[in-house]
């Protein structure tokens, strides 16, 4: 089946700010500071965790986010063929806490006696395995890793739907920051004091076809209009300009009314935005999320998308551009549109 559009119908999020879209909105609109720590969460409050007993934090957070997204979309999963539900999991660092523990066992313990559980839980696709098993997701399932994996995941998820490979696609972003990363990244940035205490968490969205939402008679959050990803070493100024120019068309051609962005550091982010605005020759309000979601990687990237979704007025044809500028020069933009009278 080919579809005439891909829509976002469910949101799930759990992290520094709390759990669920209302707490998330409150965090963004009013508080804006880290409210919770990983230890504050009892996952049993959100779902049956029997299958998560041995799981790493990433798998627990992403399972809860997916549960929330499915509930938010009002999906009755059992009504769908398991093979027609897909998932794209995005992460930058994967299950790092277990990876570290596994290395510790190998280094200070006996490498010949390491725990098989730690090894299997250290692989980057472990979160997709847990989530897939819990929610019976048997269609196309992939894990993408990288600094820009969330926008890539949304792009690929949209293609899976529009190509008719799956009818429903869960797209998940997850990363749990920890001391290993904190200490390491402090050496990589110009302003190490900016490394926050945010731990990340997980965000998930549900993608569906227009046919599916018409049938279910639900209101989507937004339509997925376009995703662009390009790569260059943006640490070189000229190259960065080239990357930013690649994003200009999204702004210029599509009547974007707001840009939501974030970057490794504000200075570079602003430099990129300046290139874009200079070329589109118009004033577009920009929300820079760098401080709020800095260093929470795929979780922060998905939170940024969710923030945008909560800002797209459903009834209008407004367009919001979510932009991501990453350390390695992978730059992406996601254009979301209000649905207006389309549905």
């Amino acid at each position: 089946m080919k579809t005439d559009g891909v829509f976002i119908t469910g949101i799930g999020c759990i992290g520094d700010f709390g759990a669920g879209k209302l707490e998330f909105k409150d965090f963004f609109d009013h508080v804006g500071r880290v409210k919770k720590k990983t230890l504050d969460f009892d996952f049993n409050d959100y779902m049956d965790t029997a299958m998560l007993r041995r799981a790493d934090e990433n798998s627990c957070f992403s399972s809860v986010a997916v549960k929330m997204a499915i509930d938010d979309a009002g999906l009755e999963m059992e009504k769908y063929a398991a093979g027609k539900i897909g998932m794209v999991m995005a992460t930058t660092h994967g299950p790092l806490a277990y990876t570290l523990e596994y290395h510790q066992e190998m280094i200070v313990g006996d490498a010949h006696m390491v725990s098989p559980l730690l090894f299997s839980n250290s692989l980057p696709n472990t979160m997709a395995s847990y989530v897939g098993k819990i929610f019976k997701i048997c269609g196309s399932t992939i894990t993408l890793t990288g600094y820009n994996a969330v926008l890539q995941a949304i792009k690929y998820g949209g293609e899976l739907i529009s190509g008719g490979v799956v009818d429903i696609c869960l797209v998940v972003g997850v990363d749990i920051y920890n001391d290993v990363l904190k200490e390491s990244y402090q050496h990589c940035v110009k302003n190490p004091e900016k490394i926050s205490d945010n731990f990340g968490g997980s965000g998930a969205i549900v993608l569906e076809t227009s046919q599916s939402i018409k049938k279910r008679e639900i209101e989507p959050y937004a339509k997925l209009l376009r995703t662009e990803i390009s790569t260059l070493n943006y640490l070189q100024l000229d190259s960065y300009k080239e990357v930013a120019m690649g994003l200009v068309n999204n702004v210029k051609d599509d009547g974007v009314e707001q840009i939501i962005t974030s970057s490794w550091d504000n200075e570079e982010c602003q430099r990129g935005m300046a290139v874009i605005l200079e070329n589109v020759k118009k004033i577009i309000p920009i929300v820079d999320c760098s401080d709020k979601f800095a260093y929470t990687f795929a979780a922060g990237e998905m939170f940024k998308v969710i923030f945008a979704l909560l800002k797209v007025p459903y009834e209008k044809q407004n367009k919001i551009l979510v932009q991501s500028v990453t350390k390695l020069g992978s730059c992406g933009s996601l254009l979301l549109g209000g649905c207006g009278s389309e549905i």
């Binding site: 490498a111 472990t126 897939g132 990288g146 890539q152 070493n233």
Partner: protein, 407 residues
């Protein structure tokens, strides 16, 4: 309208050698290059062998600083990519302007740098220096390194689907081109031998106690390997316009998930069956059109019986007549690289009309009731080949390649 998708260039690096010709020669000699691992102590593991790429085969066309900063995995995938793009018909300058994407699959990326990083972290050593080890530890860095090196300025996508990663990367490239999103993609997979992986597979009791014998009744497990396979996946008209030599057409791809277990495959093979079925249906071919199946065939009890069941269930009548072999007794299991490397081997089967032998196969197993090829077979014509890859977490992929039929 759906596009036709072909593979036009290929590079491969395994313990069998570098490039298609060396690999073909190894097929002819029925040669296994598995040997005792010397880079870390293996004497207390179930196996001491692996398929290790000889250092002399790795390209050193990098300056000293670059070499030092890069993980072995970057070197290996760089070499395979360089060979894939070395054809005179690939204009490297043009790649930059056409925003060529690169999609790679790996299980663990820069795992050797990762081992060093964690070693220093755990023992609280080299605090300032160890941050540089992060540079090529994360797998996404290898993709970006290739992007920079070869001016591939499109999307750099890194897939982590365990042992199905490499084939998935090619499959994603196929899907994107077929649906008209791209017309020229560099895709492949890679992984390197490491203590991290060796100890892990040992802990799961999956290492072979003797020879790797896929589909044999007395099989006892897998032997690990390392390597990379990189191909250019291209839209047919795009390839014809630039006069590229077409190695094969991709006519089907299926990818599913088991949703069953973190490491064990589903013994009922539901997901794997569905992946194979999807690939076959997409290809629009009959079972007896398939001339050869390059199986995932790891040599573990669970995988080989599951894969046999999947092939028989998905392909139905005639499936047990199709010649099947696993090339892992020659190369070892290259994890995320294996699917891409075996896709390149499948291209060789088509271009050289050869079916590599399933080395060490001796005893029939009723749970693997397939037509296992004991020794290499040189045929008059091999037109259509299926290649399967299955990974931890229940990731299943199947691809079908066919000699180009211009009609």
């Amino acid at each position: 309208m759906l596009k036709r998708v072909v593979i036009t260039e290929a590079g491969v690096l395994t313990c069998l050698g570098r490039g298609l010709e060396k690999t073909y020669e190894a097929f002819l000699r029925e040669e296994s290059k598995l040997s005792k691992i010397v880079t870390f102590a293996t004497n207390r593991y179930a196996s001491e062998n692996g398929g290790v790429v000889e250092d002399c085969l790795i390209d050193i066309d990098l300056d000293e600083n670059e070499r030092a900063g890069l993980d072995r995995s970057s070197h290996i995938v760089y070499t395979a990519c360089k060979d894939a793009l070395s054809s005179a018909l690939v204009d490297l300058n043009q790649l930059r302007f056409s925003k060529t994407p690169v999609y790679l699959g790996t299980t663990l990326g820069g795992t050797l740098k990762g081992q060093m990083f964690h070693h220093d972290y755990v023992l609280k050593q080299n605090k300032r220096k160890r941050v540089f080890l992060l540079k090529d530890y994360l797998a996404c860095n290898q993709t970006v390194n290739l992007s920079k090196k070869f001016n591939l300025t499109g999307e750099a996508l890194l897939l982590n689907n365990a042992c199905a990663s490499g084939l998935n990367a090619i499959g994603v490239a196929f899907s994107k081109i077929r649906n008209g999103y791209e017309d020229f993609v560099v895709a492949g997979g890679y992984d390197v031998m490491s203590k991290f992986v060796y100890a892990g597979f040992n802990s799961l009791q999956l290492l072979a106690s003797g020879k790797c014998r896929p589909f044999d009744k007395n099989r006892s497990g897998l032997v690990l390997g390392e390597g990379a396979g990189v191909v250019v996946v291209e839209e047919l008209d795009h390839a014809m316009k630039r006069g590229a030599a077409i190695l094969a057409e991709i006519i089907g791809f299926g990818q599913t998930a088991d949703a069953y277990h973190l490491t064990k495959p589903d013994p009922q093979a539901i997901g794997a069956t569905e992946a194979i079925k999807t690939a076959k249906e997409m290809a629009g071919i009959a079972t007896n059109d398939i001339d050869y199946i390059n199986a995932h065939g790891t040599g573990t009890l669970a995988n080989d019986s599951m894969e046999s069941l999947a092939i028989i269930t998905a392909l139905g009548e005639g499936s047990q007549k199709i010649p099947v072999s696993s090339t892992k007794p020659m190369t070892g299991h290259m994890l995320g690289g294996t699917g891409a490397v075996e896709a390149v081997f499948s291209l060789l089967s088509i271009s050289k009309n050869i079916i590599p032998g399933n080395l060490n196969y001796e005893t029939f197993d009723a749970e693997c009731d397939l037509n296992i090829v004991r020794e290499k077979m040189e045929r008059k014509e091999i037109k259509t080949v299926m290649s399967n890859s299955f990974g931890f977490g229940g990731s299943n992929s199947s691809i079908i390649l066919r000699e180009l039929n211009e009609n």
